[in-house]
Subunit: 201 residues, 4 copies
């Protein structure tokens, strides 16, 4: 499938799961060494269309259509593509479980996941005994400053598959849109498991 | 899109989220200085059709079709349009989370929301650090009396984006149907977050 | 709409809400003084079709198609039609919330609902201040014996709109399929509210 | 319906219920004494197609298409078919409730279910008073070793309809795809009931 259409399909599937309430969330795909397609700002993701994807370069500048406004968090996407040369798709979701989990763990700065078969949904994991670390970062409205801190976070967490921003949501990525989707779904499942575990379930 | 069709689409989307159980909830759009379209009384919102929207004037009287009965809460809609000249769409939902939250906070008379990126879904908010106040009003079957109290509530809460009625549900509005929809979705997401926070999640 | 098609539509809508897990739940409509259409036994309600409705008489005997097996709980439906001459549709759902609520309240024999605007979804209720009583009956596999006890339950609870069977589910009814649907949706919403209230929400 | 299409339909229905997050879960049907159709490895079940079912023999070797990779858990399926000659469909789901329940009960090695009408969804059960035992087994990445232990588990639990693997999910089976589906739905409903019971609901 065309990667543009694939991203639209993923965006609509995530909207149906209530992971992109209001006009939150943003999605991108790297289509060449020079070009990224990213959702434009302020779109209701239940109605995401191919024409809502705009073209930016690797520094985050809009290439086309001229005058279009890319997502406010564009520089987070480009920071991920810059650090991970094999990443070709970046997805960012806002679930209730992820939002609450991030607020309750931001002081520790990370969460650890282990003992779940679902961990094998993250590329490279071959056992439920894996210990997966998810960095949890304080939220900020200064996206340029926030995105400049990401390389250090990635360096400290080799093998990282995603991170949470407190009170905000999840970023994950993959070599393909399908892999990035699988990563988001895996994390969201596990965040829900952690919530239920906290309740004694 | 035609605002009538847009309202029907929103109504069906909200029904699918279980925000308009039974025949609860009502929706309206202001189409001119003299005219409001509002859902007629007693409609199952999963089957909402354009012909279920009836025309009223700004005082809440049915203009057409003659003999039609507008929503029992019509005067709440007109009170909102009267106070907020830029509001062109009013939406009212009945979620389980909103219902419970309103009952547990009505004695304080308000809830405060802060620390959530999702707050930026409300028009004018630019940071998760915003403190958003949501008035919580006692329920009443005397809608004329209830609606007369709204201007004072709005005056006490400058910048208010919506209010809860205890054991009943949420009212919010926007300059367009899309904005009103975004406001409702933002509030419902945040009400769910507050519930999970109460559980220690 | 044809009442057969209406019942099929309701059955599929309820299945989509997870109120008829596995092949549970059964639905009927009274189409004349002599005839009731009821779901046959063992149907997956996500695939309910008009031909899954079989004709029985008011004593519960299958009229057509010959050899068909009506729902195991047919006599509960006929007991309701017998006691309430205006009831023309009976719906029975198995939700998780209803199941748990019934098990935790069966020793008291009833639950009381009040303070919810949604109570107005039950025919005749005009205020959230109504006190609605829902009888909770012990479960039994002896349906003839169980159904014989229902008239006394109805007599003790004038104005009753439905009842729970412990660990089993909800029965409600209405003058039309639409009203019966509205009653079920109202109760299920309120059962969910009661659960959240128990959690301190 | 063709059993291949039936399995695809079940797989998509389960995906819609969030029982096969990421590319988890696997499904099979025994089509003859020599042949089993099973989902191939790594499929997103929301997009399951008939061509994603590959043919294996009863020892788990891929028959066609040549070079295809069957599910990593193929030997669990074949162990079930081997022990239960009447089982013609095996389904394996990964729900959040099943995952958490299995982790919290694996030390006891089993859970007991009783008092629920829904238990009658499991073939042969005629009363809510049935005591249904579900073995809970530790997870393992050594599927050949794991599957060799299953006959002893089945022998110790006559009448068993399914088992949980800790932190992993549910296996159940039936004489037909429809029966296996009914069994999975019954168990998942009851697992959710147990969770709510733990919360005091």
């Amino acid at each position: 499938m065309d990667s543009k259409l694939e991203l639209v399909k993923i965006g609509r599937a995530f909207a149906a799961k209530n992971w992109s309430t209001a006009t939150s969330s943003n999605y991108s795909v790297r289509t060449s060494a020079q070009e990224i397609l990213i959702t434009r700002s302020g779109i209701d993701k239940t109605e995401l269309e191919a024409e809502d994807l705009i073209t930016i370069d690797l520094s985050g500048r809009v290439v086309s259509p001229s005058g279009a406004k890319s997502s406010a968090e564009t520089l987070i996407h480009t920071a991920i593509y810059d650090y991970f040369p094999k990443a070709n798709c970046v997805l960012h979701t806002h679930s209730v479980f992820g939002t609450r989990l991030s607020l309750r763990t931001v002081d520790q700065g990370r969460i650890s996941l282990s003992g779940y078969e679902m961990l094998k949904g993250l590329a490279g994991n071959v056992s439920h005994e894996t210990i997966e670390t998810v960095p949890v970062l304080p939220n900020s409205q200064d996206i340029p400053a926030f995105s400049k801190k990401l390389p250090a976070v990635f360096k400290e967490n080799p093998g990282v598959h995603g991170f949470l921003i407190a009170g905000h949501g999840l970023y994950s990525w993959g070599t393909t849109p399908a892999e990035a989707k699988r990563h988001i779904e895996t994390f969201e499942f596990l965040f829900e498991c952690l919530a239920y575990e906290t309740l004694g379930l």
